[in-house]
């Protein structure tokens, strides 16, 4: 990373650390564990919903139902809990800015998250283009399988990277 970036990241961390909100989070011992619990519960919803979609694409779940039903049931639960995840994540960052923002595990997690969201967006795009996308009889089988495997690997890696933040600190 460029020295200018590192310097401004340091300045941002110092600034956040000195805010009243950050001081309040640091002074209250139950805030971080509670926020982390909510964060994990929201991840449970996102990861499980993504898994159901991915398993349908692989042909091992709800194969008797059209892709459209699987999407309408589970796709909103991949997107909406992200608001909770960003809010709880922000509280953790404000509480311990240097431990998170400067942490390689956190930076990797954000990179993986952006990739997972792009993959999910692509999936939604393909499904809108072609309602038979992910259909087991459809000719274009490799693409849905690649997307499903990528999605499962990415969400797993996001959870792993999240846990590793604690060990890189």
């Amino acid at each position: 990373m460029s020295p200018v970036f590192v310097k401004s990241l340091n300045a941002i961390c110092v600034w956040i650390d000195q805010t009243q909100l950050s001081q309040a989070i640091q002074a209250t011992s139950w805030v971080v564990p509670t926020v982390q619990t909510v964060h994990i519960l929201a991840i449970a919803v996102v990861a499980s919903s993504a898994l159901m979609i991915d398993l349908r694409l692989l042909g091992v779940f709800w194969t008797d139902r059209p892709m459209k039903d699987v999407f309408s049931r589970f796709l909103p639960l991949v997107w909406w809990p992200l608001l909770i995840l960003f809010a709880t994540g922000a509280i953790m960052i404000i509480g311990e800015p240097a431990r998170s923002l400067k942490n390689p595990a956190f930076q990797l997690k954000m990179l993986l998250l952006v990739t997972a969201l792009i993959v999910t967006g692509l999936l939604q795009f393909f499904e809108r283009q072609d309602a038979a996308f992910g259909d087991l009889r459809s000719a274009s089988r490799p693409l849905p399988i690649i997307i499903a495997v990528a999605s499962m690997l990415l969400w797993s890696a996001i959870i792993f990277a999240g846990r590793w933040i604690a060990y890189y600190a």
């Binding site: 994990i40 449970a44 779940f61």
Partner: protein, 164 residues
């Protein structure tokens, strides 16, 4: 205490020592544990929300349970194995940790809740399992299940903040 002697023996085993002495083994096992528990909680809530009459209403409760619960059990097996490995690495201290004990109690209650559902509910599920409506007993079991699993996650996090 007799039990402490057994836990002392457990944490002195080769595998337990390997986990406690190796710097990266524990975080890897813990990561798999978190992934597994996230899938347990997420998939079981799909079933619970159906039983509560909130979501997946276009699928019979009975079918949905057959569709989803195998994945829940698979993930639970992984969580149990990884959890046991982490416990073994520092057995005596875990056994005396408030949140660890609480988590075991909550897991037992969640299991009991499920057992009650299967003993009382499955006989009737043939009748209501195909309708959109669910009886109040199924709703109660689902609500307790959701609360128990949320508490399991909270206590699990509590262990992380009180051990070491």
């Amino acid at each position: 205490m007799e039990l402490d002697r057994a836990f002392g023996w457990l944490q002195a085993t080769t595998i337990a020592k390997a986990i406690s002495e190796n710097e990266i083994l524990f975080p890897w096992i813990e990561s798999v544990h978190v992934l597994a528990i996230v899938l347990v909680v997420g998939t079981i809530s799909i079933v619970d929300l159906r039983l509560l009459g909130v979501a997946s209403l276009d699928r019979s409760a009975r079918r949905l349970m057959q569709d989803v619960l195998p994945f829940t059990w698979g993930a639970f097996g992984v969580a149990a194995i990884t959890g046991s490995l982490m416990f073994a690495s520092d057995a005596v201290n875990y056994a005396h940790n408030f949140f660890f004990r609480g988590k075991l109690v909550l897991l037992a209650l969640a299991g009991l809740n499920m057992a009650v559902f299967h003993l009382v509910g499955v006989g009737n599920i043939a009748r209501w399992g195909v309708t959109r409506q669910t009886p109040w007993s199924a709703k109660a079991v689902a609500a307790i299940s959701l609360l128990m699993w949320m508490a399991v996650v909270a206590f699990g996090r509590g262990i992380g903040f009180t051990m070491h």
